[in-house]
């Protein structure tokens, strides 16, 4: 077995702790806890977290193929072609006569379910964190987290 396929398999097993450094380890541990709150919904719909990210992207803006591929390469690091094929198979994307890809109503439907779980979790997270941190600190934390996600590579 190659190292690459080994890595993929471990990811597929839900190993979110994919980094052993302090930042990565802390993020991974928190992420594992967080994603567990979505597991029922994700499992019912046969989705993984990569799908969740893709659905978020598809649900929020109109996309041409170029934008989607760029997003997948820069943000998720997934193989864009494979993800697009999966999205087409699941009916999350349709291609128009010019070959451009569009999100389907199914994406809105799925995001409605996941969005509700996300809102409930966010509310609980804010309530619990606010016993120790102020609104400005919570805002700063989220902004920094978003910066990490957007940092140029």
């Amino acid at each position: 077995m190659t190292q690459g396929s080994e890595s993929s398999r471990e990811s597929a097993e839900g190993i979110a702790l994919a980094a052993a450094g302090d930042v990565g380890r802390s993020m991974a541990a928190l992420f594992t806890m967080t994603i567990q709150r979505y597991q029922d919904t994700l499992h019912d719909e046969n989705l993984d977290f990569g799908d969740f990210i893709l659905l978020n992207f598809l649900a929020s803006t109109a996309h041409w193929r170029e934008g989607l591929v760029e997003f997948l390469l820069n943000v998720t690091g997934d193989n864009p072609q494979r993800v697009v094929e999966r999205a087409l198979e699941h009916g999350w994307l349709v291609a128009d006569s010019d070959g451009r890809l569009h999100a389907t109503e199914r994406v809105d439907e799925l995001m409605g379910k996941l969005g509700q779980a996300a809102q409930e979790f966010n509310q609980r997270w804010r309530e619990r964190m606010s016993t120790r941190f102020g609104a400005a600190e919570l805002g700063g934390f989220l902004a920094m987290l978003q910066d990490v996600g957007r940092a140029p590579r």
Partner: protein
């Protein structure tokens, strides 16, 4: 849905984690080991001979996921399963000499990678901002556990 995607903790955390993880995964592939395997080795190097359930809690995995990972690590000679002297039906996971040697070799690599992660993702932030961010990450784990 009212929330913007980046306002969702789950989304922001997932994207950030993937980007950080990719740095570790790419670099460690050259050493023929995966980040989760290094994580397990580091836990066992700190405290050897752990029960699967204890180890699973420390590495934030369910037992079944950890079992597959341990199978592969045992095959590579990095860890071994030993009978638990306190419970004949149970096993403990131990790091082997090869596993310890591999972890020692990887320690400077991991330190270098952590420095790289800080340089790539936290440039422009003051030290106290980074410390607060890390402290909030840890507190969030406790708060949501």
């Amino acid at each position: 849905m009212n929330l913007e995607r980046e306002e969702m903790l789950c989304y922001s955390l997932g994207v950030a984690m993937r980007r950080v993880s990719k740095i570790y995964a790419d670099a460690l592939a050259d050493h023929d080991i995966t980040p989760p395997q290094v994580f397990v080795l580091s836990c066992l190097a700190e405290q050897d001979e752990q029960r699967v359930r204890e180890l699973a809690e420390r590495v934030c995995l369910d037992s079944s996921s950890l079992t597959g990972l341990l199978d592969r690590m045992e095959k590579s000679g990095l860890v071994e399963r030993r009978p638990d002297p306190a419970d004949r039906r149970a096993l403990r996971i131990a790091i082997t000499a090869k596993g310890r040697e591999r972890f020692t070799t990887l320690t400077p690599v991991m330190e270098e990678l952590t420095e790289r992660v800080h340089a790539e993702f936290f440039t422009g932030y003051r030290r106290e901002q980074i410390e607060l961010f890390l402290s909030m990450l840890r507190h969030a784990q406790e708060a949501m556990a």
